[in-house]
Subunit: 224 residues, 2 copies
DNA sequence: TCTATCATTGTAACATGTTAGTTGACAAGT
DNA sequence: ACTTGTCAACTAACATGTTACAATGATAGA
């Protein structure tokens, strides 16, 4: 029930329905979803813990601006986790898992041939999701998602540059090939290369839409 | 204010003042700390998100049991982050940072000579903390702490085996030396070796105190 | 004696009233 | 015109009443 509020608001923020800087008021949310303030409060608390909103005590809550330092950190954390995942998967991959990955690769290829960018985006997410799943660690995908939430939010704004999907596919293919060849170092390098494509494009985004970023690049001092 | 409740309860759980399986009731906590149920509820929600407690809707909340699968995952995640950190630090270390690390190393040595195990434990934590801090990523240490919370909780139960502290020091020294020599791969290997010492000892703990572990090793299906 | 059903109890989840702190505007003084 | 002090309004944080659900124990039936 409060879960529903959380998901609803989170998606609205991620979809930039609530743009950075917009101040989030509880009353309209309560009214809109037909619930009391309690579940809304809990939902906002979780969003604050994830860094999606900044809550000023006794004053107000607003959607956090993009922060290059936070995005860089998120990308770093995500890379750390994905590299560890791809290492482990390369070592432990079963034949069944290899087949599932292979099918996903062929699906990616197919979607690009059909120029279904949205579909490819999904298959892309699934590719990374499968790698994490195959580590056997259930929380891994969630943690990776959470730490790179700011990155995900920024990524949505990146226009699908023509030809970028095909490049992405090639990078995925290199990762898959190295995994199949049980070349751990090669798989890591391929993954690093792949993930390394993202930050430069986000830096361009900062140039294009500076109003979405916080001017004072002071990172959060949040403590858990 | 609710932060205070959170910290208080968290420390109580980590110190095993509330042992695994103990059911956590709000009323006594409210009474004990002289606060209302609201901040306690929020604190428990955060603890549940971190996996320290399991909350059964409309029924009760109990301190979660140790779970080898969760502990293994926590160790994996922590290793991923620490390896990434030590890589980055090895590449970017400033002379000033090297001096601070050097001082910490000498402090460790000194504490072992004085057989101050508790002090060494602190210096150990600080050593790892410094490495993370020197990456320049402020959330890193928090994330590492959070993902390996179950590991930390189990670690407290490990009796300080005689001579283990000296071994730990040697491992730290190897890490520090490799960092100083700007030997990234060497630093990673040394760190991996160091962190690899922990799991076997926790597995022994499982043999020694099986009542603290959950029998059915089904991992949490929590989603954030 | 065992099983199934029901009532009782205790708790989290939810709703709502109350408090206190921050912010921003406006006025007064420089 | 600019700074500073005061005040009003808004909001999160806190307190508390209410509800609904799960777990447990008792009781009745087989």
């Amino acid at each position: 029930m409060s879960q529903r509020v959380y998901i609803s608001v989170k998606e609205a923020i991620l979809a930039l329905h609530f743009p950075p800087g917009a101040n989030l008021r509880k009353a309209p949310i309560c009214e809109r979803l037909g619930v009391s303030r309690a579940p809304v409060t809990e939902a906002i608390a979780r969003l604050a813990a994830e860094g999606l909103v900044d809550v000023v005590p006794q004053s107000g809550t607003h959607v956090s601006y993009f922060s290059m330092s936070e995005i860089r950190e998120g990308a770093f954390l995500r890379e750390a986790l994905e590299l560890a995942a791809v290492s482990k998967v390369t070592r432990d991959l079963t034949e069944e898992q290899r087949k599932i990955l292979s099918r996903n690769m062929r699906l990616q290829k197919l979607l690009i041939e059909d120029e279904d960018i949205s579909g490819f985006y999904q298959a892309d997410e699934e590719f990374h999701g499968l790698l994490m799943e195959f580590t056997g660690f259930r929380r891994l995908a969630d943690v990776a998602q959470t730490v790179s939430l700011q990155v995900s939010r920024a990524r949505i704004l990146l226009l699908p540059a023509p030809g970028r999907a095909a490049e992405t596919l090639a990078e995925h293919q290199a990762i898959f090939d190295a995994i199949s060849a049980q070349d751990e170092q090669g798989a890591r390098d391929a993954m690093r290369l792949h993930l390394g494509q993202l930050m430069p494009r986000i830096e361009q985004l900062e140039q294009r839409k500076p109003h979405l970023f916080n001017l004072t690049p002071q990172p959060n001092s949040e403590a858990g």
